[in-house]
């Protein structure tokens, strides 16, 4: 599985968090680019994201990432503090996105265990140039060198809910130096404080503004880093903690026993608590600092509500839950308990039943992920391409909340990207051409996702020039891709030619298209998922490409039916109705095939027991049930013995050894552990 990195947990976390930060950043930029200006909040957000990346990259010793982020941070610091009036927002967005791309690439390298060796010097100099340009144009004295905050008062993070620190706990004072040349002392100190919080309650450290002020690194270097904390742990445990922290050179750990000293310390802290609101009121600029740091903390703790889990583990969990349900049925319906009056047992069993079914539901829903992230990524592609090709395009996303299985998400990003690129490159006309045709500007690309029964439909629509049949045919002729006479080809068949490998109507190979691989990739990937690609196009009105992807491994609602001793599940969305027919509705044709009249229309019937060669007592139509199933244009009846009821089922693929069987979409486990085969309504109808 591709998501399985064999990384150390720290590194994995770093990659995960940084990727999160980057996508957040990208989203921010794209959202506000439309508004053509950043509000204060956005600038703060970007600043915060860059800061996070910088700190964690520095901690993981990825210096080129951290220096880049650092430069970016400087830039936004300037923008935030000085609020320059003249900003070229487009250039700024480009710059940020470029930096984000660079970091993304590096993260990819790290994930693949390659050397993360990208060269950031060009980017950095670009950023610095931009900053210099801003400074010049906004006529403000050189800033980053003289940060006003270095003079801000000491600040302490104190948990206010603690009444007193004078408790049974041990109070320590520690002073330490970091090894020479380890750089970013302030960040390391922050990390240390952060980790120490797991063991102890840290109530003061000096210098206190380690996160806000980079100059504090110098202070730590020269004077060491001092901290006061209390902990229920012994001296030894604390000592161990420091010994195991990287780059700590000299450590002076003192257990404070002297009551006077404690009093002094407490007083000091109390004073700080009392005075801090006053000092905050002094200047608005200083208020900003605690605010951001608070926000930062709240946000980072908020993020921890999401963890990434290996999909394998989820599969395992789902299998186990299935097993549990079976075991439960075995206990409750145990033959030994038959004919016993067990009121209390029954009550308890009912309770168990309820809980297991809830567990089952939750486990099933865990695997489902909304398409949001995959679809949001397209925003970036549309933006970049529209700029490069000088076209005016907006992207509209509908139904991003549609949930699909995790496995599917991984496989649709690429095809989607190709489709969107294709739509913009080939479909959408130049603004000039659009104006001449009297079409609206900007052009629109719509990605719409929705679930339709067994499938998820993802449609990429554009209102561009549409597919030109003649051009496609000509190209196919030239490349020898035609497999049958042109006159016999339906419109769809002609359109489908664009998915042939090596097909491209573009004479020239551009950055985005022309090599004739893109659309081929789309079909390949979608077919791998067992899906199909459909094209509809109207000249000058646009093209709609529909990806129809089955929900393999997803949950469907199905109707369980019984034929003989076998169970089958019919996807509920393809069922139109079900009824027990009366003799006069049934018609037999000369070959003996049955048909049924429903409201004046005649439909064929498939006898499931004949189709699947199952022994059953019920062979007369009037004794069983006819389920009317529909698939696209075709509607037909399926003759079964009896209905068992509706159930949410997990679609499992049939084992590889058995391969694909016509008429079966997979199988599922019923509550009692029996296997039920899921019917493929489209496949079954092929014989009619």
């Amino acid at each position: 599985m591709s998501s399985q990195f064999n990384l150390e947990p720290m590194l994995e976390l770093f990659c995960y968090e940084t990727s999160q930060c980057l996508s957040e950043l990208e989203q921010l930029i794209l959202n506000y680019e439309k508004a053509a200006s950043y509000n204060d909040q956005t600038i703060d957000e970007i600043f915060r994201v860059m800061h996070n990346i910088k700190s964690s990259a520095a901690m993981m010793l990825f210096n080129h990432i951290s220096t880049l982020a650092h430069n970016m941070e400087d830039l936004f610091f300037f923008i935030r503090e000085q609020d320059p009036e003249i900003i070229d927002y487009a250039a700024l967005s480009d710059l940020v996105l470029e930096a984000a791309d660079f970091i993304k690439l590096e993260i990819e390298k790290i994930k693949n265990e390659d050397e993360a060796d990208g060269n950031n010097s060009l980017l950095i100099s670009n950023i610095q140039d931009f900053l210099a340009y801003l400074q010049k144009n906004n006529l403000i004295p050189d800033l980053p060198a003289a940060r006003p905050r270095s003079t801000s008062p000491e600040q302490y993070y104190i948990s206010r809910d603690r009444g007193s620190i004078l408790s049974e706990l041990n109070v320590f004072k520690a002073k330490l130096f970091f090894e020479d040349g380890c750089e970013m002392e302030n960040i390391r100190a922050y990390a240390l404080v952060h980790h120490l919080k797991e063991l102890a309650e840290v109530f003061k450290y000096f210098p206190a503004d380690i996160m806000e002020n980079d100059d504090s690194a110098m202070i730590i270097k020269d004077q060491g880093f001092e901290l006061w904390f209390q902990s229920e742990h012994e001296n030894r445990v604390i000592q161990d903690f420091f010994d195991n922290t990287a780059f700590v050179r000299d450590l002076d750990l003192i257990l404070i026993k002297n009551p006077e000293e404690l009093m002094q310390l407490e007083k000091e802290i109390e004073v700080e608590v009392v005075t801090s609101p006053d000092s905050l009121a002094l200047s608005p600029e200083e208020i900003l600092i605690p605010n951001t740091s608070c926000g930062q903390m709240a946000l980072s703790s908020g993020k921890q509500s999401i963890i990434s889990v290996n999909v394998d583990k989820l599969d395992q969990l789902m299998d186990l839950v299935g097993e549990m349900v079976i075991a439960e049925a075995m206990v409750i319906q145990n033959p030994d308990l038959k004919e016993l009056e067990l009121d209390n047992f029954k009550k308890a069993a009912l309770q168990l039943r309820k809980i297991t079914s809830e567990v089952q539901d939750v486990v099933m829903s865990i695997r489902m992920v909304p398409l949001t992230i995959s679809l949001q990524k397209m925003n970036r592609i549309v933006r970049d391409m529209a700029r490069k090709l000088n076209k005016e395009v907006v992207l509209e996303i509908i139904g991003a909340e549609t949930e699909v299985d995790k496995n599917i998400i991984e496989h649709i990003s690429d095809p989607l990207m190709h489709l969107v690129r294709n739509a913009i490159d080939h479909g959408i006309e130049d603004p000039q051409a659009r104006k001449e045709k009297g079409k609206s500007l900007p052009a629109k690309v719509i990605i719409e996702a929705k679930s339709a029964g067994n499938d998820v439909l993802i449609m990429v629509k554009d209102n561009g020039r549409g597919l030109e049949k003649e051009k496609i045919l000509k190209r196919a002729r030239d490349n020898g891709l035609l497999s049958k006479p042109e006159t016999e080809m339906s419109e769809r068949e002609i359109f489908n030619l664009i998915f042939a490998p090596g097909f491209s109507t573009e004479a020239q190979v551009t950055e985005y298209s022309g090599r004739g691989v893109g659309m081929d990739v789309v079909t390949k990937n979608i077919e791998k998922l067992g899906g199909t690609v459909l094209i509809d196009s109207i000249p000058d009105e646009g093209t709609i490409i529909t990806l129809k992807i089955p929900l393999t491994l997803a949950i469907i609602s199905g109707m369980n039916v019984k034929v003989g001793s076998s169970f089958y599940t019919i996807p509920i969305t393809s069922i139109r109705e079900s009824f027990r027919p009366v003799a006069k509705e049934i018609i037999h044709d000369p070959e003996g095939y049955g048909m049924v009249m429903v409201r004046g229309e005649c439909y064929p019937i498939i006898r499931l027991h004949e189709k699947f060669q199952v022994q059953t007592q019920v062979t007369d139509f009037t004794e069983g049930i006819i389920m009317m199933a529909e698939n696209g244009e075709k509607t037909y009846g399926i003759f079964v013995d009896e209905l068992l009821g509706e159930q949410q089922v997990v679609v499992k693929a049939l084992p590889n050894y058995i391969r694909k069987i016509k008429g079966l979409a997979g199988c599922t486990l019923l509550g009692d552990g029996c296997i039920s085969l899921i019917l493929d309504i489209a496949g079954l109808s092929d014989d009619i």
Partner: protein, 161 residues
């Protein structure tokens, strides 16, 4: 380094060991490295359009596994399943499959020098037998699991589909 050693050791402990089972009067052996587990006979769900020796699929702790009746595979007369009937779950090249056999006997160690190639009687007759192991007076037919699962018949079936 250590891992490799451990792995080699494990390979080593499995080498030369065979799970033996009976079909009628004959005894067969499967290399132990293929065997995942042995379970009693289970309710089997029939699946249409399969060769007769593939009886269907079973649910093994949430995993769907196809089962093959080895009797039918060897064109022996079918026999009703009883409480001695076992399903041996084997894993051959990532494919899990259950083999229905009359009964499972034991795990035997057969030294390499006691294993001989099957006689070349007829090309088609011995195709599932990889070798013959001699244990005292008895003879165990050692199965070629790979051929058991994949041969021309299955391929032919695929072609039809």
């Amino acid at each position: 380094m250590e891992e490799t050693l451990a792995w080699l050791e494990e390979e080593d402990t499995q080498k030369g060991k065979f799970l033996t089972f009976s079909l009628g009067s004959e005894f067969y052996g499967i290399e132990i490295k293929y065997v995942t587990e042995i379970i009693g006979i289970q309710p089997i769900t029939e699946v249409p359009e399969l060769p007769d020796y593939v009886k269907g699929i079973i649910n093994l702790r949430g995993k769907i596994i196809p089962v093959m009746d080895v009797r039918l595979r060897f064109k022996k007369p079918p026999q009703d399943y009883n409480d001695r009937t076992c399903i041996i779950i084997i894993d051959v090249k990532e494919t899990d499959i259950g083999l229905i056999v009359d009964s499972v006997s034991e795990v035997l160690e057969i030294p390499e020098e006691e294993i001989v190639s099957p006689p070349e009687v007829n090309k088609n007759q011995n195709r599932y037998i990889k070798a013959i192991g001699k244990v005292g007076e008895d003879v165990k037919l050692i199965l070629d699991c790979f051929k058991l699962l994949n041969d021309e018949e299955i391929e032919a079936l695929e072609d039809i589909q």
